[in-house]
Symmetry: C2
Subunit: 159 residues, 2 copies
């Protein structure tokens, strides 16, 4: 393994292990647990599941993999807080989560180490020239932390 | 910047931004907020602050920077759950947090990119030869996620 490959492999492994942990956690929850609040008056667990689905779905274009699959979730889970809208049943959230993650992971598997250093999808060429840290690798790491952040909220609410 | 430097810089920036976020959050909390539970019957905020202090303090030897500063915290915040012991006053926790982070960050600043690929302090030479991913860089990323995980718990409890 080259040095670059080690850096990338450690980071990809960290993302995947957080994703697997989330997947195991969410998929075994009852409807009652999914509708619990993480703290009094705060987000419900199912909202966070939808939120993480939207965020992972958005990683697909951000990493240059292709078109995202579920832009219709953004209004429910990204641009508005919980309880603004009636949430959909659990099954469509679960299906979207599986689909988005499958496309994302398949895309990422095909990346070379250099691909990770390309600019991400929401920075201009001009801004990227000034700051090469605004790359796909930065998206991977920030989304890993974001996933861990919300996992930390869900675990004590359902255990 | 070389490619290696970009990978390392993105990761170091992610760790530091989570650390700064935690620092701002914890240091502005009242005694009342520090003694709140993150969920009914779960850890109190001050326990998590101490826990993160122990974990960061332990990063000092794990990354080969030097001797850790506060092993006396482990019994309170690492090897036992909250409420097993009476917790110390807030001030010593805050002082230890500041000291451990200062030593950790100073040590990390001096790392070359190759230093990040050296084995971490709790893996044997033999096991590291079999799995070069058990390096210091992996510690940095896993501790970033761990920090984000607990930040996610503290934020809704105190806001």
């Amino acid at each position: 393994m080259t040095k670059d490959e080690v850096f990338v492999e450690v980071a990809a492994k960290g993302f995947k292990s957080n994703l697997e942990r989330a997947d195991k956690l969410f998929s075994r929850l009852s409807e009652d647990e999914l509708h619990r609040e993480i703290a009094p008056g705060k987000n419900r667990v199912v909202y966070l599941w939808g939120h993480l689905t939207s965020v992972n779905d958005l990683m697909i274009p951000l990493l240059g993999i292709g078109e995202r699959l579920h832009p219709e979730f953004d209004e429910l889970f990204l641009s508005n807080p919980d309880r603004k809208f009636e949430l959909p049943a659990t099954r469509p959230v679960m299906a979207a989560w599986d689909q988005a993650n499958a496309k994302l992971l398949k895309g990422v598997e095909a990346f070379s180490t250099d691909d990770w250093l390309l600019k991400h999808g929401s920075v201009s060429e001009e801004d990227f020239a000034k700051d090469p840290l605004r790359n796909r690798f930065a998206i991977l790491l920030s989304r890993t932390s974001h996933l861990a952040y919300h996992l930390g909220q869900v675990v004590p609410a359902v255990k």
